[in-house]
């Protein structure tokens, strides 16, 4: 299925994240932002189920306000360390606890994406997710404290942003880098415009 015929079609990004906005701009499509406001609570437990469920809740809420056939994109990103799911830390103490857990280990970042086109009462929907493995270096107490002092951890799943001052502590990744930032750019592009041939 190909969701867009060309790059001039209007798209609605159902996320207030400035990072997701920048990533969508890399696809050179025209879009507006209408972010979801409800506090999503997942019922599922596996990380890929959680991100697809939350992305769907976000997209559904926004699509309900746009029944004109415009495509709505919802997304949700979480960090999974072994069986534990890390969302956004509530405060600096929780951020520190998350960073201590992540340092010296490999974790997974899941981003779920939900595409919804609502025309009156008719709805088309597609949901998918992408997983990227991230290797974090061992960090000293000082390095963790200094990183928290940058203020970056508080609004980010897993208490870090791969594109900011945490960069020196990422030894490497496997998979789509942009998926860690907040959108699986390649996978989303192919869902929107189809594959070659």
């Amino acid at each position: 299925m190909k969701w867009l015929q060309d790059k001039t079609e209007q798209v609605i990004l159902g996320s207030g994240s400035p990072r997701r906005r920048e990533l969508l701009q890399l696809m050179q499509i025209s879009f507006q932002v209408d972010k979801s406001t409800s506090e999503e609570v997942p019922h599922s437990s596996e990380p890929w189920e959680v991100v697809m469920e939350l992305a769907t809740q976000k997209a559904s809420e926004v699509a309900d306000r746009h029944r004109d056939g415009n495509l709505v994109i919802g997304a949700d990103t979480i960090v999974a360390l072994n069986d534990r799911i890390l969302g956004k830390p509530a405060d600096e103490a929780e951020a520190a606890e998350m960073l201590y857990a992540l340092q010296g280990k490999t974790h997974q970042v899941y981003t779920g994406v939900c595409l919804i086109r609502q025309t009156g009462t008719e709805q088309q929907k597609e949901v998918f997710y992408e997983c990227t493995s991230v290797h974090v270096a061992e960090m000293t107490d000082r390095e963790i404290a200094d990183y928290i002092a940058t203020g970056e951890p508080l609004d980010k799943a897993g208490a870090y942003g791969i594109q900011g001052y945490f960069a020196p502590f990422i030894t490497g990744i496997e998979g789509d880098y942009y998926n860690v930032v907040g959108l699986p750019v390649h996978a989303l592009y192919r869902h929107l415009f189809g594959t070659k041939k």
Copy 2:
């Protein structure tokens, strides 16, 4: 060996690349830019030898102007597809040829880094490199033409920038993302400030 005692020491980046400047800023160190101007010609043939040789040529040229004990960082990045080394394309035709070669395949990006501290006639030097594998999606003729029209390919090794409009065509990477952008941020950070005990 640990090159810097703390983040207030003055460092000189021997590269005019705005991307390398942004990456060095992620380490929160103070630095100035003094770019190398000579046209480097490598004598070696293996990609890791080439990037270390060119990074050393750049750092040496700049260090020669700074014999005051300040650390100079030189870097060079190339793309290697099988046995072929891709530098910056000379024109749009060569850019197109490179992109056709890269699409649908996995290639390697090598960045070499040379650190030099010159105090009078005494010199300390260290050279290393990092390799990242990059998987590129199959692309249509139209997608390649559209990407060339963005103007991004011309000043970039392998005719693409991973951080720009080429993002939708990167299916994934293995290794340090920033190494593909132009500096192996983690490895450089550890060389500068040492590893955790």
